[in-house]
């Protein structure tokens, strides 16, 4: 039985590698030549020439693009040995466009070498978690950059193996130095010797180690192990980097200085003008926008969302991977250069976290549900049965009206989302065209039609699920999903912060005018959302708003004048919307926090005071632990509101807004946008509903609202 399971597991791993092979092969053969590929091919060719000539001392002086260490380039050079010799690729500056005249066979060989490492990486991750391996196998950004002549595939593999062996070592012999620790150290060295940035895993491992040691004690032994691991890693790094041997300090220094100068001065970095959060934008899009034919499909944005959902579970189950993800994200956030290939540094933990996300929101609830059904006691079933008969007279009329007014519209929506229904085909649709097409399509009588977006045909056509892809591409290209989530997170965070601080200040003993302040602060909550939005438009509207008028009168030196011209910069309009959005939302959070504070037992505060705790300690150890279980449902509710926020974006009319705004504007038959696209609007709504399911699951978990024991 055990053997069978092992075989099954191996089979799954091989399957994952097969999928990874298929996706990477397609990318290897179809991807256009990218920036930098000529550089690293040239570097590889130089090493090939050295090996062929037999003058191995050449290794000491050769490292084209010395800002990156040489090991990965040497590997690429070795793999070129079997190919016939070709003239050396010419030297171009880093800012030059992609060199389209590379030797094809060499290009192919080195791409394949990289891709093989990419496939093994996916297989390795599948050993940790098969689902995670599968996600990595189809993660489009990873596919792109491990299938080109880049320096990503080898360090990505080595860094994963480094963590992998560290985890195995931790599981088996926590204290002694063993083979797995040596392996981990060796691959740490290989990682750093391939590309410095990937050395982030080292930091993640160190933090993990430190957390363990802080919990368990035994610093001396831990320190010895860390020292051994770090020194061995450094030695391997040095060993695999022959270019450093003649002048270690000088050349290392040189390459580090290069990076800081590059980030600040290079023309291609400056021209790109990426905002600070650009890496999150990359995460929420996919390389399909550049070359769709190189990939079968892309679910990168979904993987990113799932990863966010699964981060907590990942922390509990695989802490070091969670640390890896968090530290790498933080590093990419502050690192001034924002190339998308840097995502490969974290794609392995990202996919692991995403698989935990799937587990949390999908697999675990289903498993629990099945267990609950199995474990149900007979008496309960009997009671339910008897009550079922009593409930029937109430249920039947209730269900009928609920179905007609709520469920049917949603199902209708689902049907519309499978067609190309739009304002031109409205006549056909009203005459039953939607049912005809959807029924025919599902039963296979009607072929999936090919329609181009925006849809303008006179008759309804069945498009099936192929409708979702262009909409999804649109959403990720326009960054709607990303902005929507960024907006939700930021606005709720700020609302909570302001609401909580206000509530705490008002809660202090002896604050004057308590009631007056509270009644004043409730105002934004009581004002209908649309009116509030208009009030803020009245202040911020370009040219005619209060702010602009004040600037005309008092000149540019007045306070808040830096907010002028916000409509030209994405970061600024987000700030303006946040100012307005927080205004709506913070009173609700304040009230929720106040209600929570009132429920707290007075005794614990008295006890704290007697024990001599200061304000900060009281908050940290008493107020917050008691308050946050009450606050989290409020935060989730505000999160849902912010996610669905409609009027604010509609009133300001900037960007594409949230999913709800976009859906409205796609739908509106007389709008100025791409109007009357009923089907597209339906698809967006379905996506919204799916995301909201996640919110509601979260809410249920935190509030136990589904238990039926709510407020009396």
């Amino acid at each position: 039985m055990k053997k069978l399971r092992i075989f099954g597991f191996l089979f799954v791993v091989i399957l994952v590698m097969g999928v990874a092979g298929a996706t990477r092969w397609k990318a290897v053969t179809t991807l256009n030549i990218d920036y930098d590929e000529d550089d690293y091919l040239r570097a590889a060719q130089q090493y090939t020439a050295i090996i062929r000539s037999g003058k191995l001392s050449g290794f000491l002086e050769t490292n084209y693009r010395p800002e990156h260490p040489s090991f990965a380039k040497i590997v690429l050079g070795i793999s070129l040995l079997s190919d016939p010799e070709k003239p050396l690729t010419p030297d171009h500056p880093t800012s030059a466009g992609p060199n389209q005249y590379l030797a094809r066979d060499l290009l192919r060989t080195d791409r394949v070498t990289n891709a093989i490492f990419g496939i093994i990486t996916a297989g390795l991750l599948a050993l940790v978690n098969p689902l995670a391996g599968l996600l990595l196998a189809v993660h489009a950004w990873t596919i792109k950059y491990v299938s080109q002549i880049m320096l990503e595939a080898i360090p990505a593999f080595a860094s994963l193996l480094c963590v992998f062996s560290y985890v195995l070592w931790k599981k088996k012999q926590q204290t002694r130095i063993s083979g797995w620790l040596v392996t981990s150290a060796i691959f740490l060295g290989i990682t750093a010797a391939s590309k410095y940035l990937y050395g982030i895993v080292g930091i993640a491992i160190l933090v993990d180690w430190w957390i363990d040691a802080a919990k368990a004690g035994g610093w001396k032994r831990t320190f010895r192990n860390i020292l051994f691991w770090g020194l061995l890693g450094a030695a391997i790094f040095f060993l695999l980097n022959p270019y450093l041997w003649p002048d270690p300090v000088g050349r290392l220094n040189e390459s580090i200085l290069y990076h800081s100068a590059y980030a600040q001065g290079a023309s291609e970095v400056e021209n790109a003008q990426f905002p600070i959060w650009q890496q999150f934008v990359w995460l929420s899009t996919s390389p399909l926008m550049w070359q769709a034919d190189a990939f079968y499909f892309s679910i990168d944005p979904i993987i990113a969302i799932l990863a966010a959902l699964g981060l907590v579970t990942t922390w509990q189950k695989h802490r070091v991977y969670a640390l890896w993800l968090i530290i790498a994200l933080f590093f990419l956030l502050i690192w001034p250069t924002k190339w998308p290939q840097y995502l490969v540094t974290l794609s392995a933990p990202l996919c692991l976290s995403a698989s935990e996300g799937i587990n949390t929101i999908l697999i675990a609830p289903i498993r629990n549900w099945i267990l609950r059904i199995k474990g149900r006691k007979n008496t309960k079933v009997a009671r339910q049965k008897s009550e079922f008969r009593q409930a029937l007279p109430w249920l039947i009329p209730g269900l009928i009206s609920f179905a007609i007014f709520t469920l049917v519209p949603l199902f209708y929506q689902l049907a519309v989302s499978l067609t190309d229904f739009n304002s031109v085909s409205i006549k056909d649709g009203l005459n039953g065209g939607i049912w005809r097409e959807v029924w025919g399509g599902i039963t296979g009588q009607i072929e999936v039609a090919a329609q181009n977006f925006p849809y303008r045909s006179k008759e309804v056509h069945y498009l099936g699920l192929s409708n979702f892809k262009p909409v999804f591409d649109y959403l990720s290209e326009q960054m709607v999903l990303f902005i929507n989530i960024l907006w939700t997170v930021l606005s709720v965070a700020l609302q909570t912060l302001l609401g909580l601080i206000t509530a705490l200040i008002l809660w202090q003993r002896g604050v004057k005018l308590k009631r007056a302040w509270q009644s004043l602060f409730i105002l934004p909550w009581a004002i209908p959302e649309m009116i509030g939005a208009l009030m803020w438009v009245n202040i911020f509207a370009p040219e005619i708003g209060w702010l602009s008028l004040a600037a005309q009168k008092y000149g540019g030196g007045m306070p808040f004048s830096f907010l002028l011209g916000w409509e030209n910069s994405p970061s600024m309009w987000l700030a303006i919307l946040l100012i307005s959005g927080v205004w709506y939302g913070f009173p609700f959070m304040m009230l929720a926090a106040t209600a929570g504070l009132k429920m707290m037992p007075k005794e614990s505060f008295d006890a704290a005071q007697i024990d001599g705790a200061n304000a900060l300690q009281t908050f940290k150890y008493i107020t917050w632990p008691l308050l946050y279980p009450l606050l989290i449902p409020a935060i989730i509710i505000r999160g849902i509101f912010a996610f669905n926020q409609f009027y604010l974006f509609q009133a300001f009319q900037i960007g594409t807004g949230t999913l709800a705004t976009l859906s409205y504007n796609f739908f509106n038959p007389s709008g100025f946008f791409i109007n009357g696209q009923f089907a597209v609007s339906a698809v967006i709504n379905i996506i919204t509903v799916v995301i909201l399911i996640g919110f509601v699951i979260l809410f249920n978990r935190w509030s136990k609202a589904d238990q039926g024991v709510t407020y009396a």
Partner: protein, 282 residues
Amino acid sequence: MRKYLWVRQILSQLFLIIVGIYVILPIWGMLRLAFDGSLLSRPTEFRFFPKVFSLGPLFSVLDRPYQSVHFATLLKNSLVVSLGAALLALVLGASLAYAFARFHFPGRKPGLFILLLTAVIPPIAFATPLYIVLSILQIRTSLLGLTIVYAVFAIPFCIWNMRAAFQSVPRELEEAAFLDGAGYLSTFRYVTLPLALPSIAIAALISFLMAYSEFAIGWLFVDKAQTVTLSMAIYAMVQSGNAQPWSILGSLVVIMSIPVIVIFAIFQRTLLERMLFGALDS
């Protein structure tokens, strides 16, 4: 120690003043517009107070604010639609709410989940199919159609709230009524319903407010000035730009918001609880 308390008081008040300014500023901006009698179109210069203080705009709003439609018509439309939607949501939701509150039956938990989900789905997701269905029924552009649309937005939330209301009625009271020989329906009618009525009223109030302040989606369903509601009139005015003095817009906003603000001020705590879907209890 006393000195320290004073510092704390001053710092707290300072913080509260800053937040207060943040809260008041946009409201003041609108009030200033509402009472400025000098405006002919959009404001052209910065003023903190109205140039000419006047109640004129307020009165002209009460006459005919939008496209020669009387204020009374707008208000009537708003009230008909909002009250109708609230009533419809209550009637349609009551029996399901009672079933969920009182009985255990198979599928109850998934049912509650779906209920909660439908309560948080944005209204636009319901509007699409309703637009088509109501077009087929040829009542899309009538007040009845609008009432149905707003009722649909409110039903899930209403059911959720009424369920809580029914749950708060002690089961023992109902059982006592049974023992005295009352049937299901008369128990509901004479025992449960009267006791739950205050909470149900809150559910109705929230449904009313939803419909009363909604404009954008209703805008899709309206094609003539005679069926426009108050909040839609505001939106229409914003879209028409500078055709009218902005003081009219401001006045309409003030008039429309005052009843809502009063309701929120009175029912603060209850409304908060309802909007949290009962999560505050524990």
